[in-house]
Amino acid sequence: MQNLKNGFKLLLKYPSAVVGILLILMLFAISIYTIFAIPYNTAIDLWRGGETVWGHNPKVVPPVWVNWWRASKLPETIILTMEDENALVERKPSTAGENLIITYTFDFQADEVPQDMIINFAAKYTNRSPFVSVFWTTPDGREIRVTEQGITFTTSYRAIQDEKLKRRLGGISPDLALFDNPDTEEIDVLKGTYKIVIDALTFEEDSVITKAEVLLHGKVYGWFGTDTQRRDLTVAILWGTPIALAFGLTASFGTAVFSMIFAAVGVWYGGWVDELIQRITEVSINLPFLSLLIMIGTFYSRSIWTILLVTVVLTIFSGAIKGYRAIFLQVKESPYIEAARAYGSSNTRIIFNYLIPRITPLLIPSLVLGVPAYVFLEATLASLNLGDPVLPTWGKVIQNAWQGGGAVYNGYYYWILEPAVLLIITGLGFALVGFALDRIYNPRLRDI
């Protein structure tokens, strides 16, 4: 115990280690926050996604903060619903049903147009469907007739897909044309207050328009952006942290502890026990690790627990055991072990209380350095599409981006960079601490 305390104090003397510790603490803080802020089950559901969950988000947009260094600001999403405070809703009785006039007003200051203008209608009726007219007023007073059409129980109107509107606007795509400044030659945004008037008519007594929401999908969203399924990447990025740490720490710790135990047991009992453990280890070393995992993932189960278990088992019986065994063989001959036998200590006691504590200081650096290795392993597997199918992990995000969304090809750099940077931070944090620990516990390295 004393050794550990001293070790820790020594650790603080290395600036690199302090940086590493801070990084690790940050990761832990994120993990703890995430677990409470977005409970596990919620996260899984969220990540499964679907239009209902993520419908309001734009598709594959970068995070909000990219606007900080952009000269031309990207717009955020604007959602206008009937229930908004500054939506003007008038209801007038009409021939058969009612006449609903909604006036939306919004201010638009961005330098680029929204992804799309979508109007989602929902209505209740029996036979005759209601009819809506939508008018768009620009800041400089022009009124543009957007559409006049009938709507059914649920209708989604997408301005981009409206060919008629496009023709009316002179052949320019509606998402651009609705915002374009007519005075300038090129297409640029007219900033100011816009008005949308939705004039809806129903033709039956109980026919009502229940929803007439306008969605102007922005080109930025949230802390981390969105993906092709409109999912807020925050869920994956945040939740990736505790998953990565859990996987890394469990694998690293489990492997180290059990390697040590098997090595000690083998060395102490000698004979066939030792031979058996060594042969198992040698076979295990020669097995192709990644290929085996891929096979298991493909044919058996991709659950993260299965993968973790197989990884740990294979890694326990690997080179580490041989290294520990070499050290234990030396320690076994120590006089204090002999003394323990002389006063009647049991074999178990000797292994766990006398042999193993002797080398735990050596374990600590490799424990710490092992964590990023397993984190990367999990990410690798996930990006090969062998990861756990439900968990939102960094590797999954990379896989989605790279293979699913063509992120690099299409220039959605944020999508790949965010998980990558976090992986790097994790690796860096543990590596810095691990190297410093190595120098403490292996004094000969101190001169380097």
């Binding site: 006089p335 006063y343 009647g344 002797r358």
Partner: protein
């Protein structure tokens, strides 16, 4: 400026005058052979570490086993401690044969024999505090009450003069000196209140000025607690302070067993004579002459010389006898046993008989 006068008295006999007590340990024709395996399978001979050792040890008695490296004294010691299993022969402790022990008996036996080792630092687990090191034997032997353990640790530390106890208990072995480490080793050997202490070169790794202190400590403990002590060493000059009887071991056998003063005054076996000749007291005269010692090295225990193990190096070698027949134990005087044909009372007859056989 006058020095305090130190009285130079003769050594008190190590068994505080009470004389030896009851028979404690009896070893008869003990053989400890280790099998040598070739490539892990085939049989390639035996290492005859202990090859026919017999002696008795009584309560309050201190004996010294003297021998060089490779003579088998470590294996003998480990067998007495219960770590090695005898191949042949009998060890009897307090009347009961050790081979007949069940597991519980063996544990009890281990608490009756304390072990003091050679390397003070290596004998102590470097990651345990002194307190923990001393408590371990108690824990192993089922002393569950931590207050009781603490009390016994305190007591034993007092006996070895590691005081104030509270200062030493939280320390680690590397924080105390060699002499203090060895005191801890002795304390650990004593903590189970044994009847017999086996001390393997207890002072050879300590500085000269500290050796005497530790030897005196051991002797004091022996007297106070009526312990039997087996003191194993290769340093003849220290046996005088420790033992009544000296056993000389060579190539797995005890070639000489005698009371200390008789052996030191008049050694019989040529090997014993060589050992004594090789041990010098500080005297400038030593530089002026060569030591009269036989050349060569102690023999391998796998293939020891035939018959008398010492014959290849012996200045008194008698061809035809020493290399043909194993000498039995002779007693040139009462209580003095030696394994050498020179002390055959019928030596001429024996030699004649051997010559007859050769013809």
């Amino acid at each position: 400026m006058k020095a305090k006068t130190e009285t130079k008295t003769a050594i008190k006999p190590a068994s505080n005058g009470k004389g030896a007590g009851d028979l404690l340990l009896s070893i008869k024709d003990l053989k400890v052979w280790f099998e040598l395996r070739r490539f892990g399978f085939g049989h390639a001979g035996y290492v005859r570490a202990v090859d026919g050792v017999t002696f008795d040890l009584h309560q309050r008695e201190a004996i010294a086993i003297v021998g060089e490296s490779g003579c088998g004294k470590s294996s003998l010691m480990k067998t007495i401690l219960g770590i090695n299993i005898p191949t042949k022969g009998k060890i009897t402790f307090e009347g009961k044969d050790i081979n007949l022990y069940n597991k519980g008996d063996l544990q009890w036996y281990r608490s009756q024999v304390g072990y003091v080792q050679q390397d003070p630092f290596g004998s102590l687990a470097p990651f345990m505090t002194i307190q923990r090191i001393l408590e371990e034997p108690l824990i192993v032997h089922g002393v569950k009450d931590s207050k009781e353990r603490l009390r016994r640790v305190h007591k034993v530390m007092e006996e070895v003069k590691l005081t104030p106890q509270d200062e030493f208990m939280p320390k680690f072995p590397h924080q105390i000196s060699g002499g203090q480490q060895q005191r801890v080793v002795i304390a650990r050997a004593m903590i189970l209140e044994p009847k017999l202490i086996v001390a393997d070169e207890p002072v050879s790794m300590l500085d000269a000025s500290v050796r005497v202190e530790i030897l005196k400590l051991l002797r004091g403990l022996q007297e106070t607690y009526n312990l039997a002590v087996i003191y194993i060493t290769h340093d003849l000059s220290t046996v005088r302070y420790f033992s009544e009887r000296i056993f000389v071991m060579y190539a797995g056998k005890l070639v000489e067993k005698a009371p200390m003063d008789k052996l030191l005054k008049n050694p019989r076996h040529p090997y014993t004579q060589a050992l004594l000749a090789a041990t010098s007291d500080p005297d400038a005269e030593n530089a002026t002459h060569y030591k009269d010692v036989p050349p060569g090295e102690p023999p391998s225990l796998v293939n020891p010389p035939k018959a008398c193990r010492f014959h290849p190096r012996c200045p008194e070698f008698m061809d035809g006898l020493c290399n043909v027949q194993d000498p039995p134990e002779f007693m040139p005087e009462p209580d003095y046993h030696t394994l050498c044909w020179l002390y055959d009372p019928n030596l001429e007859a024996t030699l004649a008989a051997v010559k007859q056989d050769q013809k």
